[in-house]
Amino acid sequence: MNAVEWYFVLAALLFCIGAYGVLARRNLIIVVMSLELMLNAVNLALVAVANFVPAAAGRGTLFVLFVITIAAAEVTVGLAIVIANYRNRRTVQADEYHEMKG
């Protein structure tokens, strides 16, 4: 197996760890953190490709830069929402937000 394939496996594992965190944790902050893990996994995969595929070198790096930037924006807004909700409901437990039930 190529070196790059190892990096892919790593990325996949990290992605799924993060996915589990998003799906299974009750604390919203931890959910956001797990989301960041998933994004990092994706970045890993991208950089792996950029590194080992000459044709994609510059663009791969750029793509990762953009992902990082957008991830930053997303965390900001996401946490702002969580805090705003917290002000109203005094809770950051994800399954206590179920007004749309049914």
């Binding site: 996915a19 998003v22 799906l23 299974a24 959910v31 994800a94 399954d95 937000y97 179920h98 007004e99 749309m100 039930k101 049914g102």
Partner: protein, 628 residues
């Protein structure tokens, strides 16, 4: 000629449109001018055509004005067909139509629907003219429906009166039954002959199978049974008396009801090749003749007596046509139109004088105050009973005699009995109305007066042909002018010479008719208490006759109740439970389905995220399989 033929129906149609649109606001009380003018003009044109055909009876005018339907194999036109038969019909329709228009000016004066009445009258004239001049069955049927429509409109003319509007409905519905038969007949005709044009169908008669021909003739006859009020579809005609008397005179005596007779006469080439059909026609006609006469015997409403008399006379016409006396039947149609129309108009004059009273038990002694009405109606009555030398004698007694000479002895006897009864009821009417002492209240009596000239002149005008038409057209019997005139139409009929046998037969029917008059004289003038005692002696016979042999009750029980019951069942079961059940059930089903799926909506974002993940995994797997 084409222009004239086209104008005959078009002028009244224009009159209808104009009067209907403008009548209420613009024309008001003078709404009668245009329709009457149109009727007169059409009469003039009809007379022109009649004279033209008289001059050359072999002349046949067959003109297709324009193509109406051209669809696959069916090609029908708006076309006109003028021959001696059509000419005679034009004479009857045009003359009586015009006379009734003038009469109506007087009779309908002050009515709030004045303009409507004349508009409908003109519409009727249009439809009737098209009917008698049509050159194919489909156009004739269109006009057939048109006159049916006008009949409905005019019977229910005083629509605020419940009984009138119901009578109109009854007329239309019963007619519809007959019309259905007519339509089936046309369908069969088209299947057999490939066309509905007279000339094409009649040329091809030999090629049709006897079963098909029988079917066509019987089905067409069903239409005639409806339109001409024969048993069992006669029930609408007495109720049609709810309409104004001019309507009864025009439509239900002289023209529309004759449409059935005309249709059978026109289909002569079809019927002579189907003896079974002719027997049916004859049977129905004969039965209806005596049946209606028996009912007329006990009716107390003056218009009902004349109505049942019309049914009986129409039965006579079908009896004639069915037994082969084609010319005599048409001859009777011609004369009957005049004297029956006269009788109706006269009764209208009587009703007018009696301030709306129609029950003869409250009349009496009117001959002194209403002389013109009396004498003209007397002529009509004598013609009706078949007394020499009035018109009815020649036609009716010729029919009766024909039955004998053609070995239809039972029919002959029934015809004589009917003639006898006709004499009784007709003169019962005359005696109860005009003779004796007046039996109404003093206020009504004070009001009795002869009608204005606008109404009496038409009576006189009609009395003339009622008196003379027989002599002029029918002498000598069996080989008179009318027989020669109609020979090109009824080409297989031989004119028979007038021999001693025929003379004796005529005498016999004359005597029978006179005997009927004598019986009426005895019963109603000499011994007026006798009819009451007879009725008491035979209560069931009297009741049967008075109640029209319970025909309406039979229909109610046999037809109307089951249909209403069926409709009710359809409502409570099919509509409520099946259809509503299905629709509601469907809604319930979707509700259940929704409730089933509701747990999926947890409201928690994480469960949705899980769903997304699962979906993505599934998609990946599918794509791998598809590509691999």
């Amino acid at each position: 000629m084409k222009l004239i033929v086209a104008l005959i129906p078009l002028l009244p149609f224009a009159g209808f449109v104009i009067t209907l649109l403008l009548g209420k606001w613009v024309l008001g009380k003078r709404a009668d001018v245009i329709p009457v003018l149109m009727a007169t003009a059409s009469w003039v044109l009809s007379m022109y055509v009649f004279v033209r055909v008289v001059a050359d009876p072999e002349y046949v005018f067959d003109w297709n004005a324009f193509t109406w339907i051209s669809s696959g194999a069916l090609e029908t036109t708006w076309g006109f067909y003028i021959d001696p038969l059509a000419a005679i019909m034009l004479l009857v329709v045009g003359t009586i139509g015009m006379v009734v228009h003038y009469y109506s000016i007087g009779y309908m004066k002050g009515d709030e629907g004045y303009y409507r009445f004349f508009a409908y009258l003109n519409l009727f004239m249009f439809a009737m003219f098209v009917l008698v001049m049509a050159n194919n069955y489909l156009l004739m049927f269109l006009a057939w429906e048109g006159v049916g429509l006008c009949s409905y409109l005019l019977i229910g003319f005083w629509f605020r009166k419940k009984s009138a509007s119901q009578a109109g409905k009854k007329a239309f519905l019963v007619n519809r039954v007959g019309d259905f038969g007519f339509m089936l007949g046309m369908l069969l005709m088209f299947l057999t002959f490939g066309s509905l044009q007279f000339t094409e169908v009649f040329a091809d008669v030999g090629a049709a199978g006897p079963a098909a021909l029988l079917g066509i003739c019987l089905l067409l006859f069903t239409g005639a049974v409806g339109k001409s009020a024969q048993f069992p579809l006669h029930v609408w005609l007495p109720d049609a008396m709810e309409g104004p008397t001019p309507v009864s005179a025009l439509i239900h005596a002289a023209t529309m009801v004759n449409a059935g007779v005309y249709m059978v006469a026109r289909s002569y080439p079809l019927y002579i090749d189907s003896h079974s059909a002719m027997y049916v026609v004859m049977g129905v006609g004969t039965f209806t003749a005596i049946y209606a006469a028996l009912i007329a015997l006990t009716q107390n409403d003056i218009k009902r007596v004349i109505a049942y008399s019309t049914v009986s006379s129409l039965g006579f016409m079908f009896m004639a046509l069915g037994s082969g006396a084609w010319v005599a039947g048409v001859f009777y149609l011609l004369t009957h139109g005049f004297f029956k129309g006269l009788l109706f108009l006269g009764s209208g004059s009587v009703i007018h004088a009696m301030s709306g009273q129609q029950d003869m038990r409250f009349m009496g002694g009117l001959r002194r105050k209403l002389p013109v009405t009396y004498w003209t109606m007397m002529i009509g009555a004598l013609a009706m009973v078949g007394i020499f030398p009035f018109a009815g004698f020649w036609a009716k007694d010729e029919i009766i005699g024909f039955e004998f000479t053609h070995h239809l002895y039972y029919i002959w006897v029934v015809g004589l009995i009917t003639a006898f009864i006709t004499g009784i009821y007709m003169f019962r009417l005359m005696f109860m109305t005009f003779h004796g002492e007046n039996r109404s209240s003093p206020e009504v009596q004070a009001h009795i007066h002869e009608s204005r000239p606008i109404m009496t002149v038409p009576l006189i005008i009609l009395a003339i042909p009622a008196a003379l038409a027989g002599v002029l057209a029918g002498w000598p019997p069996e080989s008179g002018w009318i027989h020669r005139f109609l020979h090109p139409v009824f080409f297989d009929i031989e004119s028979e010479p007038f021999g001693i046998v025929a003379f004796i037969l005529l005498l016999v029917s004359l005597v029978i008719g006179a005997a009927g008059i004598a019986a009426a004289w005895y019963l109603y003038l000499q011994r007026p208490e006798l009819p009451g005692r007879l009725a008491a002696r035979f209560p069931r016979a009297y009741g049967a006759s008075l109640n029209k042999f319970y025909m309406d009750e039979i229909y109610e029980a046999a037809v109307i109740r089951p249909v209403i019951g069926f409709a009710g069942w359809l409502w409570t079961f099919v509509d409520t439970r099946v259809i509503d059940g299905a629709v509601n059930g469907l809604a319930w089903l979707w509700g259940r389905f929704g409730r089933l799926l509701r747990p999926l909506q947890t409201g928690r974002a994480q469960s949705y995220a899980l769903g997304i993940l699962v979906g993505v995994v599934v998609l990946i797997v599918i794509f791998r399989i598809v590509e691999g």
